[in-house]
């Protein structure tokens, strides 16, 4: 057997004793639970296991206190007392209370409500990240979560086709376009404060609070004429029929607008090739 470094050997011994102590703690609890070991022997076993754990942990935690002999036993007793109190508190007092209140809370919350709150949180957190992030790349990634959250809200509102269009066009198109623009206009690794600086952030936050307050007050207090029954049917076919009958002219105009945007974007963004009259003449 090769000679081990004595320091390493000491560490290994400590680790072994630590594992033994942890096993002893769990084993004593299992014996008490399933083999009907008495309370006093169980506590004694746990105390020895805690001594093993404290001794094993000594070089790693506790800043290498000179624990040995009586001080080790006393310190272990203190740790044991604290652990016993925590376990007693969790098992007898806090645990049942928490379980009981959690059961009541789950009874109050509907799954649909929970889904709405999660999706709304994703959307609003993404928007807040877009508004307040220091780095433009992080803003773009937050915008991804805002778009996905809005798509989830569309699904909750029974609008399957707009949700699909949202994912395909915004996440798949607009966001990629924005990331390309960031990549083409900024050296990655610049100071993010320079790339995404704010201007009058307190004023902006105040503006946001006033806007949210006003719009929320209006949304809650206005007497909306809500229809009693809302339908959740697939809408793609009805949307297609609406586009080709009632909204035919806007539909065609939209296609022309898209074509014009395509051509215009190419013309604006391309590098201008300057040709002087001489080169043209030649």
């Amino acid at each position: 057997m090769p000679e081990l470094n004595p320091k390493l050997r000491a560490y290994l011994v400590r680790l072994g004793v630590l594992a033994l102590g942890l096993l002893g703690m769990i084993g004593a609890a299992v014996l008490h639970k399933f083999a009907h070991l008495g309370l006093a022997p169980t506590l004694l076993l746990e105390y020895f296991a805690v001594i093993c754990v404290v001794w094993g942990l000594n070089p790693f935690l506790f800043r290498r206190l000179p624990l040995g002999g009586a001080s080790l036993l006393l310190f272990s007793a203190a740790v044991f007392g604290v652990l016993f109190f925590i376990a007693y508190f969790l098992l007898s007092v806090a645990g049942p209370f928490l379980l009981d209140s959690a059961g009541r809370f789950v009874g109050l919350v509907h799954l649909g409500d929970l889904v709405f709150y999660v999706i709304a949180l994703v959307a609003i957190a993404g928007a807040a990240g877009t508004a307040f992030s220091r780095n433009i790349i992080y803003s773009a990634w937050s915008l991804l979560f805002a778009f996905l959250g809005v798509a989830g809200i569309y699904v909750l509102l029974g609008a399957d086709f707009p949700a699909m269009a949202q994912v395909l066009i915004y996440v798949g198109g607009v966001l990629v376009l924005i990331l390309f623009a960031i990549m083409l206009t900024k050296q990655i690794g610049e100071d993010p404060k320079l790339t995404n600086a704010h201007l009058g952030l307190p004023v902006g936050a105040g503006l946001a609070l006033v806007t949210i307050g006003t719009l929320t007050y209006m949304a809650v207090m206005a007497p909306w004429d809500v229809t009693p029954t809302q339908s959740y049917q697939p809408v793609s076919a009805s949307l297609g029929i609406a586009f080709l009958t009632d909204y035919l002219l806007p539909f065609e105009v939209a296609s022309v607008v898209l074509l014009a945007a395509l051509v215009g974007a190419v013309i604006i963004a391309r590098k201008e090739i300057k040709e002087t009259s001489d080169t043209v003449l030649q």
Binding site: D113, A120, A127, A146, L157, L215, A269
Partner: protein, 105 residues
Amino acid sequence: MTSIGLPHFLIVGAALFALGMVTVVTRRNAVGILMGVELILNAANVNFIAFNHYVAAPGSFTGQVFSIFVIVLAAAEAAIGLAIVLAIYQTFHTIDVEETDLLRE
């Protein structure tokens, strides 16, 4: 019976709109401003679809049709806006909107 109603969705739309407006007002990066515009358009879409679901007569899809048009125009706006940003970058070598003040006297 679920307790989620029309005001919940309107409040989400209001929050998205306000945060988008803050982005537009406070950002100095032109790409960041475009992100804010996208957020505002999304907020409008949430309101369109929420009203279509809760207020419109069953079988009416006007709100969803308008949301599709808004998505189309947002895509066109993003393409043109980012092309303008690239052109500004080629001219000024920065996209800080505070420094691109050629027309300001």
